[in-house]
């Protein structure tokens, strides 16, 4: 099966800053990939390159197409929600459905109506009359009714309250995702998507600093809770990161054999957030 997104050596600079500094990607169908990085790390630039919304150097193919030259064709099979509330505020919900129905060959209007019927969004309302959460529900209903191979989400739940955020990912998983679709998502709220991801990529300073499947992550990284007396022994094993929680030391290791852990304390797979913090500190000059 060929890659959904294949990138080699993507570069883009704004003056002196490198938004993308040699990014490689190989994303296969049926994956849910989280692209995670601090502000200004190049996440959005990366997504924009994939969507053909920005210029860049390097090799990039999305669904076998070149986003620079074949953007309109590409959009038949790619959907994206960039930021919340990008729906035109003057439009009625019914008008949006009519418009998408007429221009999009893969849109299923009846599906969208069904999704919307489960929300409080009324078809005769204008977008400007909807709450932020309802706008996102509307947008998601449209996007989920498009038979697309790739869905790109850039901070899709930013500024939403927790009920909407929960529903958002729940709907995405139960009503949309299947093995033929691929989702690429960036967010600050890592905890929320942690459980649904199949792959995770960390990006920092325009470089991919981690690219792993969740299974990889589980075998490669381990976090150990160590009592203070054993902390020195734990330090000798070369942890990536050390922090203190309620008087106990938490060490994070990469590629540590499980037998070395014996007796140090209980261990588990680190959360993405903790791993992210460790990775970012590792990269930063001491």
């Amino acid at each position: 099966m060929s890659a959904i997104i294949y990138a080699k050596g993507l570069r883009k600079s704004f003056g002196d800053t490198h938004a993308l500094d040699g990014v490689d990607m190989d994303i296969q169908p049926g994956r849910i990939v989280g692209l995670i990085g601090p502000n200004g790390a190049g996440k959005t630039t990366c997504l924009k390159a994939i969507l053909g919304l920005t210029s860049f150097e390097g090799e990039l193919s999305v669904l076998g197409l070149d986003p620079r030259r074949q953007r309109a064709e590409l959009m038949k099979n790619v959907c994206f929600i960039a930021d919340v509330a990008t729906l035109p505020r003057w439009a009625k919900v019914s008008q949006l459905l009519d418009f998408v129905d007429q221009v999009h060959p893969n849109f299923h209007r009846d599906k969208a109506l069904e999704f919307l019927s489960k929300t409080k969004v009324r078809l005769d309302k204008k977008v400007r009359e909807l709450s932020k959460g309802m706008i996102v529900q509307t947008h998601l209903s449209i996007v989920m009714s498009i038979d697309a191979k790739l869905l790109v989400l850039d901070e899709p739940t930013l500024g939403l309250d927790i009920l909407y955020r929960k529903d958002f990912y729940h709907n995405l998983l139960t009503d949309y995702f299947d093995e033929e679709r691929t989702i690429l998502v960036t967010t600050h709220q890592v905890e929320e998507i942690e459980k649904i991801l199949t792959d995770v990529m960390f990006i920092d300073d325009g470089k991919i600093v981690l690219d792993a499947t969740m299974e990889d992550l589980a075998s490669r990284y381990v976090e150990v809770l160590v009592v203070p007396e054993k902390a020195d022994a734990a330090r000798k094993l070369g942890p990536m990161n050390e922090r203190e929680v309620f008087g106990r030391h938490v060490f994070l290791y990469e590629n540590l054999r499980r037998e070395d852990l014996n007796g140090l304390g209980e261990y588990h797979v680190p959360s993405i957030a903790d791993l992210f913090v460790a990775k970012m500190r590792e990269g930063a000059p001491a």
Binding site: L51, S55, A72, E73, F80, P88, R89, V100
Partner: protein, 321 residues
Amino acid sequence: MNTHVHQYQALVRREFWEHRGAFFTTPVVILTVIIGFTILGLIWFYYIAGGTRIVTDEFTFTGVGDLVRMLEDTNPQDRAMAINGMLYGSTVVFNIALLFYVFFYFLGSLYDDRKDKSVLFWKSLPVSDTKTVLSKWFSGAVTAPMLAWVGIVVTQLGLLVIMTVIAWTSGASASNLIWGPAEPLQIAWTMLVAYIVQSLWWAPFHAWLLLASAFARRAAFLWATVPLVLVGFAEAYLNYSWNFFRLLAERIGGGVIPLQLDLDEDVHIGIMNLDPERATLSVDMGAVTDLLTSVEMLWGWVVAAVFISAAIWLRRYRDET
């Protein structure tokens, strides 16, 4: 092929939805105001000014009935002048309003959605930027004038109906007095051709506005106007001539809109033949062909094509961050 037509239809309809206020409501308001004021004026004549007498050497005026009799007494030529002149007069309001709202429509067309970020939604759909920009040109150059034209036709019919009712109530023959001299079909046809030809004449002007709209990060109005003024003054400063300003004035003020009718000067105005006896304009198809194939018109299209291509390019490759 079919999907292309479909997409253009959807895009043009979208522009109408978004700009319904300018494209549809404005002509409706204008026609309501014209018809409304006419009716109010008549009511005033009938009831309030009913007892007023205006006596001059030439006529005695005591109410609407006298107005009808005046019209009956004038010679057929002057009668035609009065009726068609009034009908043409009502189109002027539409022409002026159209000029303004089309100007602001184009200024915002590729700017507003970038400002409120909804461009990201439009760009998430499989519609090429070429189609988007062309649909916007079409909306300003064709949709808007055509709807104004419908407004004009309805207004004319409304005015004629009012005049008919007045004639009846005064016991005069409406067919002799009103429908004989009136030329509503002629006026409708003239305005239709005029609006289409005028949009073609203004293509470079419209395209320039589209370009400014696609280019501006803020203050689209200034981007649309200041560069032109600067070029004009630069020419004046460097070359002591005003050719650029003259060119602009000829382009914007030129063309065919009956707005610029100068009754004294010439009986042949642009593509129109003026019939001074009936105060009507008729389309001179030979002149239309001449104008459409004139060097100025063709140059206008070349310039428009360059501006529109640039606008498409900006729309496609401009990165908004």
